[in-house]
């Protein structure tokens, strides 16, 4: 999937200008870090990409389709091709870890057999094979985050939106997750990741888009967390 933002602005109903005239093109298969201070607008970009929010001005396009003009009925189909790692996890509290992950498959009408194969596999990838029958409230913060990651990738999405996917993880687990994302990326999945993890951004040397107060400040191939200047 390729992504194209053209002069996009987002003003929330209460008047906050979270995004100001942002333009950005992300090609299929790219790995992009979104960095910037707290409140810079990283999550807002991600929310625009899966149509949680609509742009106030400008055009958000995914695979050539303008999201502003997308009919409500088509939105689920858009989202099925996107794996989203939410900053606040958004797990279903009444479903077990297994069922939370399985839900992303059920949504696309996967067969029972497919679910039986894929869910345990992805759970062991994030190191939660033993907690499959737990409920979200019975998990530590980092474990919840990993369930969210598992749900986002189980579906082999062509785009992964990761909002702070390692915020609650220790460095070792963070690297496990990063390797997981890098692997997925290698198979052709586009990845957009908002993060504060300086170490990770600096050592991976991927494309970095830096934001400040709603504006895109810097866009570097093989960039670092801080400015290179």
């Amino acid at each position: 999937m390729f992504i194209q933002l053209t002069n996009v602005s987002k003003t929330y109903p209460n008047g906050v200008r979270a995004l100001i005239d942002a333009s950005l093109r992300i090609n299929k298969g790219e790995f992009v870090f979104l960095v910037g201070a707290s409140g810079a607008g990283k999550s807002t970009i991600i929310k625009l990409l899966f149509r949680e929010e609509r742009a106030s001005r400008g055009q958000v396009m995914i695979n050539g389709k303008t999201l502003n003009r997308l009919r409500d009925g088509r939105v689920p189909h858009l989202r099925r091709n996107i794996g989203i790692i939410f900053q606040d996890f958004k797990l279903l509290p009444t479903k077990s870890v297994h069922d939370n992950v399985a839900f992303a498959l059920q949504v696309v009408g996967a067969s029972t057999r497919e679910i039986r194969e894929k869910v345990p596999a992805v759970l062991s990838l994030v190191g939660l094979e033993k907690k499959a029958e737990f409920f979200p409230t019975q998990l530590s913060g980092g474990e919840q985050q990993r369930v969210c990651i598992a749900r986002a990738v189980v579906n082999n999405p062509s785009l992964v939106l990761a909002d702070e996917p390692t915020g609650n993880l220790d460095p070792d687990t963070s690297w496990d997750i990063m390797n997981l994302l890098l692997n997925i990326n290698k198979r052709g999945t586009t990845i957009v990741m908002a993060t504060h993890a300086k170490d990770i951004v600096d050592s991976l040397r991927k494309r970095v888009v830096a934001m400040e107060r709603g504006r895109i400040l810097r866009d570097e191939e093989k960039g670092g967390y801080g400015s290179e200047l």
Binding site: F50, E52, D72, G73, V75, P76, H77, L78, R79, R80, I82, I84, F86, K90, L91, L92, P93, T94, F103, A104, Q106, V107, V108, G109, A110, S111, T112, I115, R151
Partner: protein, 293 residues
């Protein structure tokens, strides 16, 4: 819908019922209570209506014949009235019987006091098919030759007609009011239970679920909850009503109570259908707001 989707819906519904156990209980209770009130109100209104018809059909026209009529002539008049449209029955109270009625309980011999001559007229009692016909019939009977006087308690009949008219009207209003109240109460409860799960709905949508994928389990759940409530209500209403009828028919033999199997079956059916319908529709409608993400 594919098999695995169907499986999902059924499993999901079952799980949801269990995991939101006490919210389910709340919905079932509300449905049950609302329908119990509605059910009892229905039996009450039906019985009152029946009682009203009963009272109306008991209104009689008294036709006093002239004292010079021979038994043959009396029979002729009776036959003529019986032939009129709207007449249910005509019974004769002969002058002798009438005197005997007055005599009974009095020690002095009336007939003797009267010098052996019975001054009372023969009387025909006419029952009609409906209270509304009484007035017209009386007017038609009056001119028959041999008829001396026609009486039907003019004031009372009007009163009774008005009373039963109003009773039916109020009964209908009552049922209407209670039906609306039930629907509103049940919707409120279902809406609140859906509201408590709005975050879940939002998450489902974010993960790419279509509206119908989210709706089905809610729909089924609402229907099952509604049905359970209705079953509970039906059991209570049927049991309570037949029990009451049994008691009252022993003690108030003169009040006719509807006790036909058909009536009770219809009542139960009505309650089950309303329960399932309000439950599922309530879920769907409540969900609508939260699907818009």
């Amino acid at each position: 819908m594919s098999f695995s989707s169907l499986r999902y819906v059924v499993k999901e519904t079952a799980l949801s019922l269990r995991r939101n156990a006490w919210m389910s209980l709340a919905s079932v209770s509300t449905v049950a209570i609302s329908l119990i009130i509605l059910g009892f109100a229905l039996t009450l209104v039906y019985n009152t209506n029946q009682l009203a018809s009963n009272i109306e059909s008991n209104i009689e026209i008294s036709v006093f014949l002239r004292t010079d009529q021979t038994p043959d002539q009396v029979q002729q008049i009776q036959a003529q009235i019986e032939g009129m449209p709207g007449v249910k029955s005509v019974t004769l109270l002969g002058k002798d019987q009438a005197l005997a009625q007055i005599q009974s309980g009095l020690s002095s011999d009336l007939l003797q006091n009267l010098g052996g001559k019975n001054p009372l007229p023969d009387k025909l009692t006419v029952k009609t098919d409906s209270a509304g016909l009484v007035k017209d019939l009386a007017a038609n009977i009056s001119p028959i030759s041999g008829v001396d006087a026609v009486r039907y308690g003019q004031g009372l009949v009007d009163k009774i007609i008005q009373f039963t008219h109003w009773m039916r009207w109020i009964g209908l209003a009552l049922i209407g009011l209670l039906a609306v109240a039930s629907i509103v109460l049940i919707s409120i409860t279902i809406r609140l239970t859906v509201f408590a799960r709005r975050k879940e709905v939002q998450i489902m949508k974010f993960v790419g679920a279509t509206d119908w994928f989210i709706r089905w389990p809610f729909l089924l759940e609402g229907m099952i909850l509604g049905l359970c409530g209705a079953l509970l209500a039906s059991a209570l209403v049927v049991y309570g009503y037949t029990g009451l009828v049994a008691i009252l028919q022993d003690n108030l033999t003169f009040i006719p109570l509807i006790n036909s199997r058909q009536f009770i079956m219809n009542l139960v059916l009505l309650m089950l259908v309303s329960g399932a319908l309000i439950g599922s529709l309530g879920s769907m409608v409540s969900l609508r707001r939260f699907l818009k993400v």
